[in-house]
Amino acid sequence: MSPAPGDEGAGPVDIGTEMRAAADFLSRPPSATPADRGARTSDLSMDEEIALHSIGWEPLQLVCGACLFSVPMGVWNWGQGEIAYASNAYARAFAGASEQLHAECTKVGGRGVVGVHVEAEVYRHHVDVVLLGTAVRPVGSTGLSADPVFVSDLSGRDFALLMSSGWAPLGLAVGASFVYAPRRSAGTAMKQKSQNIELTNFTEAMYSAREAAMERMQEAALGMDATGVVEVKVTEGPMDFARHAVSFTAYGTAVHLVADQHRTLSPRMILPMDDPVQAFDVSSLRG
């Protein structure tokens, strides 16, 4: 939505006048017929809301989805290869939470959810996934659209930037894999001790697990007919409660091009002159 025609020559807003207008408005009792009032709830920051407005979208309601999926006992005992129960629990918990988020968004009439906070925790006996975000829609649109609801952890600002360049989010693509660290036999251990060599069976196991998580994420994206996945967050590490078990998770926002082609933004380069006198700091050479 572009600014109204009369605004082009309006000049900067006088915030003092605006504040007085707001205070005077509050000094009167609220209007009886709230035609323009609509009980919205949103956890977006003011900057995000302004960015949304600049592309003609508005926030609707806070929506969320939660799902807990159990992991049977004994799953984390040392074994070989992938820990299927854990990978499956993670995928099912995420899918369950996403489904509820979708349903809530549709119920409030939103076209999609932005700014999703993803909380995914793996405990010894269950995987908990909670998704919380704000449902949004183009200003003034009503009724259901033919397109499926999208879900994304992009901030309102990133969503607006992406839409301005002709791309649109489709959903959260997620992949996870859990794997047992391979054991080293005593003989191999001794032989490897003094040499500088690669521990190939370890490498293979970690490598494969990492690739499996990424592959699942890609498959999820392809399933949404996406062209790409942006802002992929990859986490990996041993489980707190079972240090010999390692998890790899990857998730990002699946996107596709909706315009005929990518629209360039031509950013303006700026040089902030904010630095005080700064002495050379040798620690800046370090990473």
């Binding site: 007085r20 509050l26 323009d36 709830t41 600049s54 999926f69 040089l271």
Partner: protein
């Protein structure tokens, strides 16, 4: 009892007078303010004159049945004392024993929610009183906290902010200052976008999970004698509890907004596991209740830039 919107309680003599020190503080000339320098500058630019730093406290006894935890404690599902959400589950196994929990329930702990509101509203209304006494139109940069005081089994609620007067404007409709969590440039942007602050809004939802056998087994990972394969499933009772606690918080706030909107909300949920699959969930939802005061006028698309430094 006060609702979450800072309605001053009925004059039944329960609200104490302002402390003498507070009266002295406001009658003297220099103002105090919790604003940072940039926020202070932005306030002056908006024509907001800081009047003083206002605060309200309320200390609630937070011990129920002798357990000094900030979450309260167990309420029996048989006490029938809750209004609101409740959902129950029956054991599918047909196995009866003293240890086998054949019946379970999720229920809303409305007594905890009521007590929290009493504490919060008490602190909030006292802050408003201080602001009114100082002749303020509104309070900006509000922060609210609730924390246990040592080991004493009490919970202290604090609400504080900077009271301001709007130069050249009329005082609010019912003599009650408007309040907002925002301050400085964030408040200025909200005003520019056409949203006037009405009040801060905060609520708590508390749900107790009284697990039945299936929930207990799934949460503990044990399969009992019911087979290993059946132990990988969605923990329905827990998922429902998590959804319920967040839904209740949102419904409570929406019920009080009266067609105004909630912006810049923050939802914080915490869980306390009580063993054997039991748990207690608490969700605090806060935000700024705002009302549109001028027609929607979108700002032009911001110019993207890249910093060279």
């Amino acid at each position: 009892m006060a609702d979450g919107l800072g309605q001053l309680p009925a004059d039944d003599g329960q609200v104490p007078d302002l402390p003498e020190a507070a009266e002295r503080r406001f009658s003297e000339g220099a103002f105090t303010s919790g604003l940072t320098v940039p926020d202070f500058a932005a306030c002056l630019q908006m024509g907001l004159e800081p009047v003083g730093y206002v605060q309200g406290f309320c200390v609630m006894q937070w011990q129920w049945y002798g357990m000094g935890s900030p979450f309260g404690t167990f309420g029996s599902p048989f006490s029938g004392g809750t209004r609101g959400y409740t959902e129950s589950w029956q054991c599918p196994h047909g196995y009866v024993s003293a240890e086998h929990r054949g019946w379970g329930q999720n229920y809303e702990q409305s007594w905890i929610e009521d007590a929290w509101h009493q504490g919060f509203d008490g602190a909030y209304s006292r802050m408003l009183e201080e602001a009114s006494a100082a002749g303020a139109h509104g309070v900006v940069g509000v922060t609210d906290t609730s924390q246990p005081l040592g080991d004493l089994g009490v919970l202290e609620f604090r609400v504080q902010g900077t009271a301001v007067k709007v130069a050249g404007a009329a005082p609010p409709a019912d003599g009650r200052p408007w309040t907002t969590y925002l301050a400085g440039q964030r408040l200025a942007k909200s005003i520019e976008a056409g949203l006037a602050p009405v009040s801060i809004a905060a609520t708590v939802a508390s749900v107790r999970v009284w697990a039945y056998c299936v929930t207990e087994y799934l949460t503990e990972g044990s399969s009992g004698s019911w087979g290993y394969q059946s132990a990988a499933a969605e923990i329905d009772q827990m998922s429902k509890a998590h959804m319920a606690v967040r839904r209740i918080a949102r419904e409570q706030i929406r019920g009080r907004l009266d067609h105004d909107s909630l912006h810049g909300a923050s939802m914080i949920t915490s869980e306390r596991e009580l063993g054997q699959g039991d748990a207690e969930l608490q969700c605090i939802l806060r935000g700024n209740r705002v009302r549109r005061f001028k027609a929607f006028d979108p700002l032009p698309a911001p110019r993207p830039t890249v910093r060279l430094l």
